[in-house]
Amino acid sequence: MSKKSANLDRQIKCIKDCIEELKQQRHRFELLMIILRNSQQVLDQWTMQYIGLLEMKREVGLKLILLPQKERESLKEVLGSKTLEEHDNIIDESISQLVSEGRILTIAEMETALAKIDALIVELITCVNRIQQGEKAATRSAKEIILKKVAPIGLGLALVGVDIPSQSWPTVIGGTYIIYTASMN
């Protein structure tokens, strides 16, 4: 097998693994939505109250979300080489957007995000088929989807994941909002 063909196989394997992982993550996110949906009314109240606080924070130029040290460490492990400060800015920007809109992220929107993740999975499967048929451009498309859409969704999921056990509702909102915006772009 030539080096070129081995490399192509490696890329296809990466994309396929990524599809599988995305499917599992989607399933976890869906299960979480089911649990949260049962308590939507209270969660909406929490969210509205927290948005009031965030508005005040933004007004005086404070950082919107500050993760506790333990959560920061877990997130650092997941995010790897990228600095956490860089991600802090992404989180802050996303939350800032939500606050400026003065609204909450509804379960319906989270469900829309799930549908968009489904669409991404289909797109990636199509890319794999195209690569196997010898279409070179398909590799680039798959790479763009993974780096520009799937990776930010991963960040959102990591945030949600890191904060549920510590009952940090604000960061759950932040994480789900990142998943939502990343899937809608």
Binding site: I35, G52, E55, V60, A151, L157, V160, P165
Partner: protein, 149 residues
């Protein structure tokens, strides 16, 4: 003087040499909005903030967080009214509100979700973290393979 600043350490004696913080009514409104949105109403307290100075007098804003009102008035400078800087007051209030919010979430969390739900959420979050780590590694591998190709 009917001034009830949140903490004595945050209070300063008024002096005409101290530059007054800029007038920002919208910020004060945000402060009120945040205070009044909490279900457990904050006790009735009053804060005075210097929002502008002129010769021999200063303009102050009176905030009653608990009942959600705001009013402005002009006071003579010789009253030596203690004041809290707008930034310090807001930061301190935000800290208090955030603390209350976190208490509210942790006290209702257990009622909101069953033990089984909490256990399931723990497993899901663990999976989400591990999955995200794997997704990041795959994206890096793909990038590497693409660079080599």
């Amino acid at each position: 003087m009917a001034v009830d600043a949140c903490k004595f350490s945050h209070m300063m004696l008024y002096s005409p040499r101290i530059k007054a913080p800029e007038y920002a009514k919208s910020g004060l409104r945000g402060h009120l909005k945040g205070s009044s949105q909490l279900p457990a109403r904050i006790e009735r307290e009053t804060h005075f903030i210097i929002v502008g100075t002129t010769k021999g007098s200063f303009k102050s804003a009176e905030i009653k967080g608990g009942i959600g009102t705001i009013s402005f008035s002009r006071k003579p400078a010789h009253l030596q009214m203690p004041f809290v800087s707008r930034q310090r007051l807001f930061e301190s209030r935000i800290e208090q509100l955030e603390e209350r919010f976190n208490k509210l979430v942790s006290s209702t969390w257990g009622y909101l979700f069953s033990e089984r739900d909490i256990e399931e959420m723990r497993d899901l979050s663990k999976g989400m973290l591990e999955g995200s780590k794997k997704m990041r590694e795959l994206a890096e591998q793909l990038q590497e393979a693409d660079d080599e190709g």
